[in-house]
């Protein structure tokens, strides 16, 4: 079961990365709806850098 959950969600850094990226996009959407999607992309790229560098 633990293996399956890890298969789905990855490690804690992965969960934090995706959660934070969506939260950021959600916040941006309130002020600039057109930019929310690309804010998500930018946040995920930053998360990719953070995780790959670690």
């Amino acid at each position: 079961m633990k293996k399956l959950l890890r298969l789905i969600f990855g490690d804690i850094r992965n969960i934090i990365s995706v959660g934070a990226a969506i939260a950021l996009a959600y916040a941006v959407q309130r002020w600039a709806p057109d930019a929310a999607g690309w804010a998500l992309v930018a946040a995920l790229l930053a998360a990719g850098f953070w995780q790959a560098a670690g």
């Binding site: 789905i8 990855g10 998360a47 790959a52």
Partner: protein
């Protein structure tokens, strides 16, 4: 069939092919130890479990009556979690921070491990190997299948299985020439693109967030591909460090 469906099917085909290549290496090593008949029975048993899981979850999810946007958002978040994992792995391999997956080494290590194993133990190694790789295929088929079509999603995974098994049986050797990291990176970019599109589209309204509609998917794939390659270049380790086994 529209471009989104083609994109989804291609992503499942490529992702499944990567998983089946890894599974084939294990089955081949087991077959050379306990014979093809027993190894094939283990692989078929594992594939049977995966097929049941696809059928049960597919049927279960089709019964659930809920807002399509909620389902898309949930699937999108799952694809982001799954895609980001593959993305980071592929970038680390491009950057030399993690060793490239080597099917030949995997094959010889499994052979070594099986050298003193009993028939039952070897059968279990093949079963578990195929099951573990198959579970990843199951997750993708269920996620993308619900948003596209289960027939198309499982058909793509099955086509990849036949392609890999056919090539493997012809060669009777591990499929070492498959550019696994490039495939993994391409699939990760596609998964992140679908995940971004559906998660925010489902949560906040597709038209408001992605005014270009489905065409945005191509832009998203390009953005993740370009970004990933730039990150890999930025994180690339010096050749000496790579020769010493990479970073962390």
């Amino acid at each position: 069939m529209n471009a989104t469906q083609w994109g989804g099917m291609s992503a499942i085909f490529l992702a499944s092919a990567v998983e089946w290549v890894e599974a084939f290496t294990i089955v081949l090593a087991v077959a050379l130890t306990i014979g093809w008949k027993r190894a094939a029975s283990a692989a078929l048993a594992a594939l049977g479990v995966v097929s049941v899981l696809v059928a049960v979850t597919g049927a279960g999810l089709s019964i659930v009556q809920t807002d399509i946007n909620r389902i898309r958002a949930a699937i999108g978040v799952f694809l982001l979690l799954f895609g980001l994992r593959w993305y980071v792995k592929a970038i680390r391999r491009y950057a030399g921070r993690t060793a490239l997956h080597d099917e030949a080494r995997e094959f010889s290590e499994t052979r070594e491990h099986l050298a003193h194993a009993e028939t039952r133990g070897a059968w279990l190694v093949a079963f578990k190997g195929v099951l573990l790789e198959g579970l990843e295929v199951w997750l993708l088929v269920v996620a993308l299948g619900h948003a596209l079509s289960y027939v198309q999603a499982s058909g793509s995974a099955l086509a990849a299985l036949f392609a890999v098994t056919g090539a493997g049986l012809m060669l009777r050797a591990p499929l070492t020439r498959v550019p696994e990291n490039t495939l993994k990176f391409t699939v990760a970019c596609a998964l992140l693109a679908f995940g971004s599109f559906w998660s925010l589209g489902g949560l906040l309204g597709e038209r408001a967030i992605w005014p270009l509609g489905d065409a945005t998917l191509l832009l998203l794939v390009a953005a993740y591909a370009a970004g990933g390659r730039l990150i890999a270049i930025r994180l690339r380790l010096p050749a000496a460090a790579v020769a010493n086994g990479g970073g962390a």
